[in-house]
């Protein structure tokens, strides 16, 4: 086996009294996606900053693409791409000028930089906007350009720090597809996210981070199993039918006996048993009236509650997200 593309051992970093990273270990084989999942302030961005040489670690070691983040910092920079939370592109340059500049700064030379810029503009559907100033771009277009900038030098490893925070669902989906294509082409990706569905969709392996520590690792399915998978929630028309409903649903429940409080019946669903359609069939043939029925997928909060026994701390996180979304909308409007 060749060396992992990302290899982190006992990495530590403090800001004054605050321990941002308390000794994390990570590993990503070449050509895979490692998802770093955690709430704001968990240490995700600190980890990315250390791995891209923006921040020196206090202790521990980290190697990316075979280079040590401290000893080989300058060589390492030539082999990674970074797309951050902000869409770090110059608003007063055109899309093409931005990518050409990044190419020149990777020392690709003028001609190759221009060629690469046009290639990436094409890939990211920005050819029509290539000669427009970036300040006229929508939020989604900026993110795509930012991601394109991270790929200019065809780096073997790319870091995406919350690449879709603040994006509308359509742009998010488009970005996910683009990332998947890069991975299929052999790029290793470290992705941080607050969203389980994003990690689920993209990551081969997920490390859950909380308070600067990795509290769980595994594939998306492994993590979901620890959380308990999907939950079925049925609102009964008539609470007196609870016992009948429980008996009807028991065979597709992870629990021996689904629980029922008033008219709300809730249970973890077993995999591969027909899902919500089977539940409806069973309740129907048992003659149970359904007022409402829904499948609830595990959220990041569920993962946290299951793994740590406490809810994820989101202080300030929601406000920030809203701000970002508003900014995104403003840009969309300006573009239109």
């Amino acid at each position: 086996m060749s060396e992992p593309a990302i290899e982190v051992r006992d990495l530590r970093k403090s800001y004054g009294d605050v321990e941002a990273l308390r000794g994390i270990d990570l590993e990503a084989p070449a050509g895979t996606v490692l998802g770093l999942l955690g709430p704001n302030g968990a240490g995700k961005t600190t980890a990315v900053r250390i791995l891209t040489t923006l921040l020196p670690p206090d202790a521990g070691s980290a190697r990316v693409a075979g280079f040590d983040v401290v000893r080989d910092a300058s060589e390492l920079r030539a082999h990674v791409g970074l797309a951050g939370q902000y869409a770090a592109v110059d608003e007063n340059l055109t899309g093409r000028e931005n990518l050409e500049m990044v190419g020149r700064l990777y020392h690709l030379g003028r001609k190759r930089s221009l060629g690469r810029a046009d290639e990436l503009l094409e890939t990211f559907g920005l050819t029509d906007a290539a000669s427009r100033l970036v300040r006229t771009y929508s939020g989604g277009m900026r993110r795509r350009l930012d991601l394109a900038a991270a790929l200019v030098a065809r780096p073997p490893v790319i870091f995406l720090d919350e690449p879709t925070t603040g994006l509308d669902p359509r742009s998010r989906l488009a970005l996910w597809q683009t990332i998947a294509v890069r991975v299929a082409a052999g790029t290793t990706v470290l992705l941080t996210t607050q969203y389980l569905d994003e990690a689920d969709r993209l990551a081969d392996a997920i490390a859950v981070i909380d308070h600067g520590q990795v509290i769980a690792e595994g594939t998306s399915d492994e993590l979901k199993d620890r959380v308990g998978g999907e939950r079925l929630e049925v609102t009964l028309e008539d609470p007196s039918q609870a016992e009948v409903a429980i008996a009807a649903l028991a065979p597709i429940s992870e629990d021996d006996r689904p629980s029922c409080a008033g008219e709300l019946l809730s249970m973890p669903m077993r995999r591969d048993r027909g899902g919500i359609a089977e539940a409806v069939r069973r309740l129907d043939s048992a003659g149970v009236g359904i007022a409402d029925i829904a499948v609830r997928r595990p959220t990041l909060d569920d993962v946290f509650i299951a793994l740590t026994g406490h809810a994820a701390e989101h202080e300030g996180a929601e406000d920030e997200d809203e701000d970002e979304e508003e900014q995104g909308e403003e840009r969309e409007e300006r573009a239109a």
């Binding site: 900053r49 040489t53 920079r77 770090a88 110059d90 500049m101 700064l105 100033l133």
Partner: protein, 258 residues
């Protein structure tokens, strides 16, 4: 290519980036084209009649070297604003993650300032000639004066670079620059003869680098006695660059986007 060759090419790439944006953000353009014109016209016509300048043909000859010194010293604010903006937008993070020279973001900024300062300087000389300024100098002395002013502006760009990479916001960077430089320019020989000031202020004005710079320019352009001012002026410029360039680069290495 060697490290030095890369450092130079990185600097040029970024200087080009900074210059490309200028015609696209007209507010900046105004500050280094119309503003100098306004200053020259105001000083010549408002104060010109009131200020005695013995030994000079008229106030315009006295004023032009001084007002050019002041304008050059402020030229670097574009660097401070630009760096503060780049920090805010996360661009500094991107640049720091690229395999480029650690000094290039700053030297690209300060080099771009030399270009914009050249534009300001040209405009000021033309406006000065229009309002009655006359060179009493050889061609070589005129060129030496231009060179000295661009060097002086470059030195101040490094002070602004340090302010921009250190201050918490673009507004703060601008306020710090303004508060520091404005009193220095007025408590000097730039606008009024130093011996018209109270004793304590004269003592300060005598050692103020703006006085040195202005007197050097008067020696070069309107044939005033030079003393050591020209050499001292060059030493000041080189000294400021030698202090603030490494300080700014050290800050940049640890810069954190906001």
């Amino acid at each position: 290519m060697s490290g030095l060759a890369y450092a130079i090419s990185d600097t040029v790439v970024l200087a080009k980036r900074n210059l490309l944006r200028i015609p696209r953000a007209p507010d900046l353009l105004i500050s280094f084209t119309l503003q100098p014109i306004m200053f020259v016209v105001l000083f010549v016509y408002v104060f010109g009649g009131a200020i005695e300048t013995p030994g000079f043909e008229d106030y315009t000859d006295f004023l032009m070297p001084g007002i050019i010194v002041q304008t050059m010293s402020f030229g670097g604010f574009v660097t401070a604003l630009g760096l503060a903006e780049d920090l805010k937008k996360g661009l500094i993070d991107r640049f720091r993650s690229l395999p480029m020279a650690r000094s290039a973001v700053l030297s690209g900024r300060t080099l771009a300032d030399v270009a914009t300062n050249s534009v300001s300087l040209t405009i000021m000389i033309v406006v000065g000639l229009l309002v009655g300024f006359t060179f009493d100098a050889s061609f070589a002395e005129i060129v030496a004066g231009i060179g000295l002013m661009l060097l002086f502006g470059y030195a101040f760009s490094w002070i602004f670079a340090f302010a921009g990479i250190t201050a918490s916001s673009a507004e703060a960077a601008q306020a710090i620059g303004f508060m520091a430089i404005f009193p220095l320019t007025f408590a000097s020989s730039s606008f009024v003869p130093v011996d018209s000031m109270p004793d304590w202020l004269q003592a300060f004005a005598e050692v103020n680098p703006f006085t040195t710079m202005t007197d050097a320019m008067r020696a070069l352009w309107v044939d005033q006695p030079a003393g050591n001012d020209i050499w001292l002026a060059v030493v000041w410029c080189v000294g400021l660059i030698a202090v603030f360039a490494p300080l700014s680069v050290a800050r940049y290495r640890r810069a954190v986007s906001r």
